[in-house]
Symmetry: C2
Subunit: 352 residues, 2 copies
């Protein structure tokens, strides 16, 4: 309504109402509005922002931290621009067993690309992969993994790669649960992301996984836009292809965003220390150390995979997502260690 | 006021007011509020968001673009998450003559560090620099510049470097204007940044300058937070120094964010194509090409330094900020070319 309409409406109301009717109506309206306000406030206070979390120490520690850094007048108050929270992805926001989902993506890519590569039938690690012999393929160790990654992740433009990932994530299913991978995300962590953002935090992914493998779906699934995703990357090259400017993905590592690389990636992309960091493995340890050591209130959390029934149980001797040194340091420094078994009411948004 | 206080206030008002007084008071209050609303709306409509721009084609093109991508129902509407605008820094947001300000910072660093480097007295390019003979120092070409950069920008932690930059920017003065460097920013561009953000754009710096040279002051001066600054960088290394996790700046180039590097930097940090890009030199050409070629409405703008009286006039044959190929391509493709002389009412927030 513009100001002309508003003035006219007031004038009209005055014409229609007798002086005795007006206060009664306004009084009633005010009472009704006060009532609505009362119940809205009560409802907001009652609504649990973390309903998939049991009311245990982990949940209480999260809420206590958020309260103390966001309440005005708190000795630990942190201005919104400094409320940076970083999250590992594999094993922290979504599952990582029986192997990193990006590796399963690469295996599907090998099969999709095989017709264009007849030589793969006789060359490792591809020959084994095409026979679904993953163990045989990985016998070549890191060079084999590197070769698989370079063949499946490069040689296309960034926009072609984005489409490949989008198509895969829309159709591929987890080998054990038969669910789309985007349904293998942890419901309690989704609530945590939302809860932090509702309190002025900027949430980032800081993952050893490929930055361009996560970006095509992270905004839809986690509410995290591409510019807040940090990950490992290959080099890209600017080219004019028939006059069209594109970026071509080169078979050369640009950056490995894991372990000691995580604080480096954080500095490159964010340029300031997080005040809260969330991980699940030794690959996240340096990110948590770097976060914990900043000035003022800090929060570090490890997700501990201890629920063999509803998810997987692994830590010190796992090949994927090993949590060994990190578990010791978390205990020594009093970081929050989430027991998926005890602290999480639900794990996924559905039941297996 | 909480709901209890509100109810009490209404009850109190009812006790105090006679039925005949209430409608008159409310009517008067409504008329006053409508008046306030009327003038506020009128003021907002009248207020020019770009007061330092003359009402020429450049300003009209900017406003027309913003209108068409932000108005709901427009055929060119772009959702807020896709409203990415990238800005070069040197020569686009602040001045770059007689040489890049970061180079002037490096020269001051050489003098500050000289007592710790007695060997510099006899070795080039430092010996010349210490005698204020810049021309002599630069006789060594790119290797000399590289050596100066590495000696002055590395060997400290990221947090130590941040403090060095903050101290310098707070005290150093431009050699010709004698103004702090942060006052050598273009007032019309500050208004443009604010105008775009007010319309849901996310503004980024994409500069050939050092990412960690810009971040310490970009938020205060431009309203652009560290995580939205993209620039050239050296490698850093995570270390525990006496148990304290730090990042040490290494004397090794990590990334050059210039020319063909700009789209690469944009992909690394933002992960999507800008819809608007702003530059002033051939070093920005690939960023503008990359931006222009995306789907949907796009906006590319070159700031043309043609005002020898109020700033500097240079383009095709300048050593710093050369605009040659870019000027031809802008004219061929109909990009907006801002004449600082004709299009800008003021250049800085003050007069020399």
């Amino acid at each position: 309504m513009n100001q002309g309409e508003l003035v006219e409406k007031v004038a009209k109301a005055r014409r229609e109402d007798s002086p005795m009717q007006t206060p009664r109506k306004i009084y009633l309206m005010t009472v009704v509005l006060a009532g609505v306000l009362f119940f809205t406030v009560a409802l907001c206070q009652a609504a649990d922002p973390l309903p998939s979390w049991n009311d245990t120490g982990s949940k209480q520690a999260i809420i206590a931290f958020v309260k103390k850094v966001t309440q005005k007048g708190s000795a630990d108050f942190v201005p919104p621009s400094e409320r940076i929270a970083t999250f590992d992805n594999d094993g922290t926001l979504w599952a990582e067993q029986p192997m990193y989902f990006q590796f399963l993506f690469a295996l599907d890519r090998v099969k999709a690309l095989a017709p264009q590569h007849p030589e793969w039938q006789d060359n490792e690690p591809f020959a084994s992969l095409l026979k679904d012999d993953i163990k045989g393929a990985l016998a070549g160790g890191e060079p084999a993994i590197y070769q698989i990654a370079m063949e499946t992740l490069t040689g296309v433009t960034t926009e072609e790669f984005e489409k490949i990932v989008k198509d895969w994530i829309a159709t591929a299913k987890h080998p054990m649960t038969k669910r789309p991978y985007t349904e293998m995300v942890y419901q309690p962590m989704l609530e945590l992301l939302t809860y932090l953002r509702a309190h002025g935090f900027k949430t980032f992914i800081v993952s050893g996984g490929g930055i361009d493998f996560m970006r095509p779906w992270a905004e839809k699934v986690y509410g995290i836009p591409p510019e807040q995703v940090i990950g490992s990357s290959v080099k890209t090259k600017f080219e004019l292809q028939g006059g069209k400017p594109v970026l071509v993905r080169l078979p050369e590592v640009n950056f490995i965003d894991d372990g000691e690389g995580k604080p480096v990636g954080i500095q490159q992309h964010i340029g300031r220390r997080p005040i809260a960091a969330f991980g699940n493995s030794d690959g996240d340890l340096q990110m948590l150390q770097y976060t914990a050591d900043g000035n003022g209130a800090r929060f570090c959390l490890y997700v501990h995979h201890d629920d063999a029934k509803r998810e997987w149980a692994y830590d010190r001797i796992s090949h994927v997502g090993r949590l060994d040194k990190g578990l010791d340091e978390a205990q020594a420094k009093g970081w929050t260690v989430v027991s998926m078994k005890k602290d999480w009411k639900t794990i996924y948004s559905y039941h297996f």
